[in-house]
Structures are given as structure tokens and as C-alpha cells.
């Protein structure tokens, strides 16, 4: 018979695992607004464009920031690390600012869907660099993050001239629409579901072998993916996936860090701060991929210094450490 402290220790261990799993699962792609609330915004955009939708956005953000502290808390995970010395009032103002910026991005995404993506002004000076990478015919991994207008810049992808696959997990109850869903436009990418067979890894490998483009998020761990590494980010260790770097090592595809930022209403910039080459034969150990994850995180760190209010990864990526 096991001693009572043994079962207590096992319970505590399991409980800690459950809490860790819960933290990782806290994120969902599901919008905090209802379908009806989204439709109000869409109707305002149809009637008068973004400038009719912005005033309602101010009211909605004020409501969520003052009456729904749990929503405000989601911005605090990041803001506490990015601005550790700010007081409560300044942090409240920052939460409002970051929420407002995200709201504007979502409104402009909806406008691109309703009135056409040509209403967007996308500045993409590094496009030539991507063309040169594609000419290597090893495929190309675009490693994105939840920053700037990551959903708004999707119309830029077809201009790269290769089929695009995107690793994307959508909640079955998602009510907010991607831009192409508003007017039933062709989707600019084919989705790979990370919840599919073997996490979609074989589909990703196949796409790269055909010289296609694979878009992944470098700052989000999907579901129960165990292939993660803890890397310092904004002064504290945070959890990042390394699967894409493993796939890059096996396929020989370069990894282009692919960020965007909002310049102003309907105006976005796309930048390639780094291109990461991962050598073959690194094996299976997470430690082998550490240097490459570090480079991505360094680019993300620099981004948050340049665009501090355009980081929209609202889950506690530091909690696991």
C-alpha cells in the first residue's frame, strides 16, 4: 500500500499538470462578441465605412475594459512584461489602447471583405526577397505572429505566385469572419488543421516539397503539442513551438519571419525582419532547435519595442515557465 503522502504527491503533480494544460487551453479563436454584435459592426461598415464603426468600437472597448476585468486581464499578461514599471492607471490606459488597436484592425479586415481588399494599402518592400527565396524551390515557411494586421494582410499572399497553405485552428463556434468570407471570395490559402492526422505535419511537408508557401504562427502552441521550448521573451521565459523549425530542417525550406503592422486607417506594412536557415540532421531534441526559436523571439521582441500596442497574443504564454 502506498503511503498517504505518496498519493497526495501524485495528486499535486496531476493537479499541476491539469492547471498547466488549462492555461495552455485558455486561448481559443472564438470571438468575445456575439454573432449579432458582429453584424451591427458589419452593417455600420456597409453603411458608412470604418468611420461609422469606430465610434461604436470606442463604446464597446470602454464597456469591456470597465465591466469585464477578465477581458482586461488578457491584455495584462503581455503589458505587465512589456511595461513592468507602469502603475495601475497607466496599465488600464494601455489595455484600452491595445484593445482599441485590435478593434480597428478587425474593423478594417471586415471592410476589406465587404468593400474589397483593394481598399487596403499594403506596403510590402521586402517582397523581392521572398521571390528570391521561392526561386530556390525548397518551399518557403512564413512565420507569422499575432501582431499588427496578421489577418488583414492575407490579400497580399496570392501576389507571391505560389499556392499557400496555412496552419490554422478555428473554433467551430467562431462568429467573426475572415475578409474573404464576407463576399464569398476565393480563400487566398488552403487550411491545414493542426488537429488533423499527425498535426498536419505530412501535409506541411508535402506542400514544401512542391515548392509551396506554408504559413505558421510562431507564437502560439496549438492544442496538446508537446514540441515546445521555453525562451526568454520580454524578460521572462515563455513557451514557443519549435515544430516548424523541425520541418524546415527536414525539408530545407527557409523560414522567413513575416510580421505586419498597422500604419493608419486601412494602411499596413509587411516586413521580413529575419530569414532563418535550419540545417539538416538536427535530430529530435528540443534543445537543437533552441537557437532558431531564439532568433524568431528576438525579432518578436524587437517588434514589440517598435510597435508596443500591436501585440495581440492574449494568452499567458509565460505561465508555463
Amino acid at each position: 500500500m502506498s503511503p498517504p503522502w505518496g498519493s497526495w504527491a501524485a495528486f499535486m503533480k496531476n493537479d499541476a499538470r491539469t492547471r498547466s494544460a488549462r492555461r495552455l487551453k485558455r486561448w481559443t479563436s472564438r470571438s468575445i462578441g456575439s454573432r449579432f454584435q458582429h453584424r451591427i459592426f458589419y452593417a455600420l461598415i456597409r453603411a458608412g465605412g470604418i468611420h461609422l464603426a469606430y465610434p461604436l468600437l470606442y463604446a464597446v472597448v470602454f464597456y469591456y475594459m470597465t465591466c469585464r476585468p477578465s477581458i482586461r486581464q488578457k491584455t495584462a499578461f503581455y503589458l505587465e512584461k512589456r511595461f513592468p514599471h507602469k502603475n495601475a492607471a497607466e496599465r488600464f490606459a494601455d489595455s484600452c489602447r491595445i484593445s482599441m488597436t485590435l478593434g480597428k484592425v478587425l474593423i478594417e479586415r471586415a471592410k476589406a471583405g465587404i468593400r474589397g481588399p483593394e481598399t487596403l494599402q499594403l506596403s510590402f518592400p521586402a517582397k523581392g526577397r521572398l521571390f528570391r527565396l521561392l526561386e530556390e524551390n525548397r518551399g518557403l515557411i512564413l512565420m507569422n505572429a499575432h501582431v499588427g494586421g496578421w489577418q488583414v494582410i492575407l490579400p497580399a499572399l496570392p501576389s507571391l505566385g505560389r499556392p499557400v497553405k496555412m496552419l490554422i485552428e478555428r473554433d467551430a463556434y467562431d462568429v467573426d469572419l475572415h475578409y474573404y468570407e464576407h463576399a464569398r471570395r476565393p480563400r487566398p490559402f488552403a487550411a491545414i488543421d493542426p488537429r488533423g492526422f499527425l498535426g498536419g505535419s505530412l501535409e506541411m511537408m508535402g506542400a514544401l516539397e512542391r515548392g509551396e508557401i506554408l504559413c505558421v504562427m510562431g507564437d502560439r502552441v496549438f492544442g496538446s503539442d508537446k514540441n515546445v521550448i521555453h525562451v526568454p521573451f520580454l524578460g521572462k521565459k515563455a513557451v514557443f513551438p519549435f515544430s516548424a523549425f523541425k520541418i524546415a530542417s527536414v525539408s530545407g525550406a527557409p523560414v522567413a519571419v513575416f510580421f505586419s503592422h498597422r500604419i493608419g486607417p486601412d494602411r499596413y506594412g509587411i516586413e521580413i525582419p529575419d530569414v532563418i536557415r535550419v540545417p539538416a540532421g538536427l535530430g529530435r531534441s528540443p534543445r537543437a532547435f533552441g537557437p532558431y526559436v531564439h532568433r524568431f523571439v528576438a525579432a518578436l521582441d524587437a517588434y514589440t519595442r517598435e510597435h508596443p500596442y500591436q501585440f495581440f497574443n492574449f494568452y499567458d504564454m509565460w505561465a508555463e515557465s
Binding site: 499527425l198 498535426g199 505530412l202 523541425k246 535530430g283
Partner: protein, 89 residues
């Protein structure tokens, strides 16, 4: 129907143990029919990527897409049969 050469099964088990870092397992301890992923041997998506590479390296056999992978990756037996059917002459 192809018979599955024993040496393919043995080599596969050795690859699984050595290349996928199964420190507490010997090749002989891996049952032929245990599922490779999920509740069986517990391999994950990156193990699958590594297996694809190793199979190509040692046997010269490619697993090109998800449909092939779904068939091949069911067990050591299934994977060995998949390789036996496609071994270069």
C-alpha cells in the same frame, strides 16, 4: 500479398528506438502490431516527420502524402509492409 521481411521490421524498431530517443525501450520490446501514435507507442507529429526522413534514408522509400501516411503509420507491421511493397529493385 507481400510477406514482410523480418529485417525491415527489426530495422524499423531500431530506428524508432535510436532516432526517436526511446531510452527505456529496446527494439525487441516493441510489439509488431502496436499503434505507433496516440495511445500505442505514443509517437507524435514530429516523430512522424523524423520517421519519414529516416525511412527515406535507410530504405529509399518516400511517404508522399497524408493518405499514404495514414495507411503506413498504423503499426510497425503496416509500415514494414508499406516499405516492402515499395523497396527499390
Amino acid at each position: 500479398m507481400h510477406t514482410i521481411p523480418m529485417d525491415i521490421q527489426t530495422k524499423l524498431k531500431t530506428i524508432i528506438v535510436e532516432e526517436l530517443n526511446f531510452e527505456d525501450l529496446t527494439p525487441a520490446e516493441i510489439p509488431d502490431d502496436i499503434p505507433l501514435f496516440g495511445d500505442g507507442l505514443g509517437l507524435d507529429s514530429l516523430d512522424a516527420v523524423e520517421l519519414v526522413v529516416q525511412i527515406q534514408k535507410y530504405f529509399g522509400v518516400q511517404i508522399k502524402n497524408m493518405e499514404e501516411g495514414r495507411t503506413a503509420f498504423q503499426s510497425v507491421n503496416a509500415l514494414a509492409a508499406f516499405i516492402a511493397e515499395r523497396l527499390p529493385e
